[in-house]
Subunit: 390 residues, 2 copies
């Protein structure tokens, strides 16, 4: 599991003293080669943290030697000093590796916005993490734990892709328990593979996979300033897989991580899959799903185990999509409660006590479909987010 | 106060047995003439309740004799039977008045979506309400109480407009404690005036006034299926005021009602005014304000009396507006906590214990400004909306 599963990757983790509660909070993931192809996608929020502004430049040439990630502070809206610290982090990591330049380094930070990280602790931690790094499975696991903020557990995944020439491995880790909104889905994700691929192949595959996985998570509609999903390819397997097969494997890995994020969303008591069928296009299907995923009244009803389908219809009526609201069917956990915009089975027949909740919205307007994943709006969500902590 | 304040209006209210908790739940407001000019604006949700579909047709000729409003059921997504009941309500009211046709009647309903109202009780209630109607102040107050759902108090307002020919009066009532989102602002509002004006004058004035009052309330981002704001003019004063003066008076009345709705939003512990200055246009100022008003993380922070300005910047970064996020200043209750996208005064200096909260966002991009009103996201909000009740 995790980022050290593919050949050619090492990871090192330390407790640098960035998190007030202590524990591992800084990790480096190093591509040991022989190839250094990479791709990354970033938050579409225009309010971008310093590490995002840095990494957008660093990824431009498609070459990445290593990535440093810290929890305990987002380094966002921290002024010129904050950007200098991001720059310095990249330089320190490059220097510690000995054979890299700062422009080959990606930087990720997560935590509170508007507070400077302690520069000395961060820089010292980077040197220590590099020195400690190895390619063991446990190092990958420690990396995944170091990037946790309000996550209750680390998120890791692994996929093996069998090719005529042998097996290619993909590994990944993710963090993100709040602000799981698209564009992309507010998270830090690092994916590694020992496949031998070009940067533009990685870039296309990563964008496609993100679009149907991370970008369809919409836990609370809030978009982060620090989202970054990176894909590093070491080429250490010596195998160039078929690109279609690689894309499929990457999508499976991303979906695995996305659903782990979904299951661990802050304060949630339901994991809600909103499946929209019969839309005119994928985009419209997603728009309809998202309108429900962002409706606080619907989300509060699910928290109350209440199959309030009227709130589903009220929500989709605001979506930018073509369909007749009086032709829509809505089912919850297999019970069709609304048929053609009118009551069908009694809502009391719906059992909403299971954590996993399925809402099916049949638009009957076309052939496209999509699933958007969200969570319920709970008193715990409000509690967790009403203290100054994230 | 209320709808009977202007000359030429009467109101009658009964407990028709539509509300499970009992109490007055059906009211009629009758324009006794001599003029019957009217205007109305409706929810922009495409999921429209039967009374909206009806009233959109009825208002087309700019003539309204009376309006019937009920709480206890939204009559939305109730199938053909539901629409027939709306039609029947208008016919019964016209018949009871004796000198009107159904096409001169507006219908408003509020309450649960997807459940049929008891037809017999509703129709009987309409006849009784018409028979009971009078133009007393208390009748106007009873009307305002009859349309309450989760409102904790009735909302009424009155404005006197002095003209060279004498005084013109405007009166109004409103209901709406949840789903206060724009387009318009999820509510039932009836405004009356004894001014002598043409339907197109009323229409223009009502749209302008709604745009800067009801449409800038965004309590929880959820848009209703039943919103309707109606303006009836009896001409009973015999006075045609200057249109600018009338528009100003109408805007004042709408603002008064809007802020009463704001103050009574479901479960709220803070009334938040988000003032955006320095935008390129009014539209962009509103878009920026709304992005904050709809950010659950920001709203939860305010509930926790936490001046988490990072969440303000993260929210506005998603708004469709032109400005430099690293040039923005943010103040909360008079303390500038962010200057040019970096920390300014310590957030601990902000006192968020008062119920009224002011967030000032200075974009420094242009000269336009707007205020959007919202509320915090509280555990009470989640509680109130997690039981099947609205």
């Amino acid at each position: 599991m995790s980022v050290t599963a593919p050949a050619g990757f090492s990871a090192g983790t330390v407790a640098a003293g960035l998190k007030s509660q202590g524990g591992p909070d800084l990790t480096v993931v190093v591509n040991e080669g022989p190839s250094f192809s990479a791709a990354a996608v970033f938050t579409s929020n225009r309010a971008k943290a310093h590490p995002i502004l840095w990494s957008e430049q660093a990824i431009a040439d498609g070459q990445v030697r290593a990535i440093v990630l810290n929890s305990g502070g987002a380094n966002c809206f921290t002024g010129p000093e904050g950007f200098a610290l991001t720059h310095q982090s990249a330089e320190k990591l490059a220097e510690a590796l000995g054979d890299a330049s700062a422009s080959d380094i990606l930087v990720c930070s997560t935590g509170l916005i508007g507070e400077l990280l302690p520069a000395g602790a961060l820089i010292t931690g980077i040197s220590q993490a590099v020195a400690l790094r190895d390619s063991s499975e446990s190092s990958g696991g420690e990396s995944a734990r170091a990037i946790m903020t309000t996550d209750s557990k680390p998120k890791m995944a692994q996929v093996a892709l069998t090719t005529p020439s042998g097996v290619v491995t993909l590994g990944g880790m993710a963090k993100g328990a709040g602000m799981l909104a698209p564009g992309l889905a507010t998270m830090l994700v690092v994916i590694t593979t020992d496949a031998l691929l070009e940067p533009d192949q990685l870039d296309r595959a990563l964008r496609q996979a993100s679009e149907v996985t991370f970008n369809r998570l919409d836990s609370d509609g809030c978009m982060s300033t620090n989202d970054q999903v990176s894909l590093l390819a070491s080429g250490a397997s010596g195998i160039t897989p078929g690109i279609d097969e690689f894309e499929t494997a990457l999508r499976a890995l991303c979906l695995d991580l996305a659903l782990q994020l979904h299951a661990d969303a802050e304060g949630a008591s339901h994991e809600i899959a909103i499946e929209v069928t019969g839309a005119l296009s994928d985009t419209e299907a997603v728009a309809v799903g998202r309108s429900v995923a962002r409706n606080n009244l619907f989300k509060a009803a699910i928290f109350g185990n209440d199959a309030n389908w009227g709130r589903v219809l009220a929500a989709i009526g605001t979506a930018d999509a073509s369909f007749d609201v009086y032709g829509v069917d809505v089912s919850m956990n297999g019970v069709r409660v609304c048929h053609e915009g009118a009551p069908d089975r009694p809502r009391t027949e719906v059992d909403l006590t299971p954590r996993k909740t399925h809402v099916l919205i049949e638009l009957h307007a076309g052939d496209a479909s999509a699933t958007v994943w969200t969570n319920d709006l709970t008193t715990d969500y409000v509690h967790e987010n009403s203290a100054y902590s994230s």
